[in-house]
Symmetry: C2
Subunit: 145 residues, 2 copies
């Protein structure tokens, strides 16, 4: 990513240019989306899974900050735009089938989940039930003002 000094693309957001071959290699689904996993660069914990369209992935690369596509709101979702919990992308990977993207990120504020928890995967299966095993670090009402 640009901010990490590791990646450069020319015109990442201009579909059709020769430099968009990397975007064409992604296997977008029927809705033009791919799932994107955000994994903490330090420690490897999985923070969240969201969706990206072509524009979101291009902007993620161009800015070095995670940008998703909000299916519920039907628009680009610049992670942290309301909460301040921005994700700085350190590395970007694509799987063998090209249909899942993996982002290794630094999580601003240490909170990825809208519930105020570090990770969205805070429910662990135990004794036939999903148990909440991670604390709320910050009241969501104070995050989303």
């Amino acid at each position: 990513m640009r901010s990490a000094g590791a990646m450069n693309t020319a015109n990442p957001g201009n579909p059709g240019s020769p430099d968009d071959a990397w975007l064409d290699q992604v296997s977008w689904d029927a809705d033009g989306l791919v799932p994107a996993i955000a994994q903490e660069a330090s420690g490897g914990r999985i923070l969240m899974v969201a969706w990206m369209n072509r524009e979101a992935l291009a902007e993620t690369v161009a800015t070095g900050r995670a940008v998703y596509w909000s299916r519920s709101r039907g628009r680009l979702w610049r992670k942290g735009e309301e909460s301040g919990h921005v994700q700085t992308v350190r590395e970007l990977r694509l799987d063998c089938d090209g249909d899942v993207v993996l982002l290794k990120v630094d999580q601003q504020g240490g909170i990825a989940c809208h519930t105020g928890r570090h990770s969205c995967f805070f429910q662990r299966f135990e004794n036939g039930r999903w148990e909440v095993v991670e604390p709320v670090l910050k009241d969501p009402e104070s995050i989303y003002r």
Copy 2:
């Protein structure tokens, strides 16, 4: 999981029984599926992403081995059934929206990907391209005989 001695469910594969509440809490998509991330229990590397239906998730819990739903083959896919690269499930998590499952696994043979690589996420974005950055550990032709 049973094999890890950490989880027990009665009748995990019998939809409709009272013990299936945990399966009902999963937000299955329109096709009755959820994405499932397999993460290495030791080290935290992400190995692969596949899909599960209700039956696959129930059998995963019942047996302690990762079972997916193969969309291409339209049937249950007991990971390792051909390759021997079984995944023993150490922990199972669900995200905040209930629509993604996370499995922490031990990967038999150290190979999760059908290309013979450790992880399916072997392509890293560098200088505007997806570069292959992980070696083939075993020729796929010798894996799938």
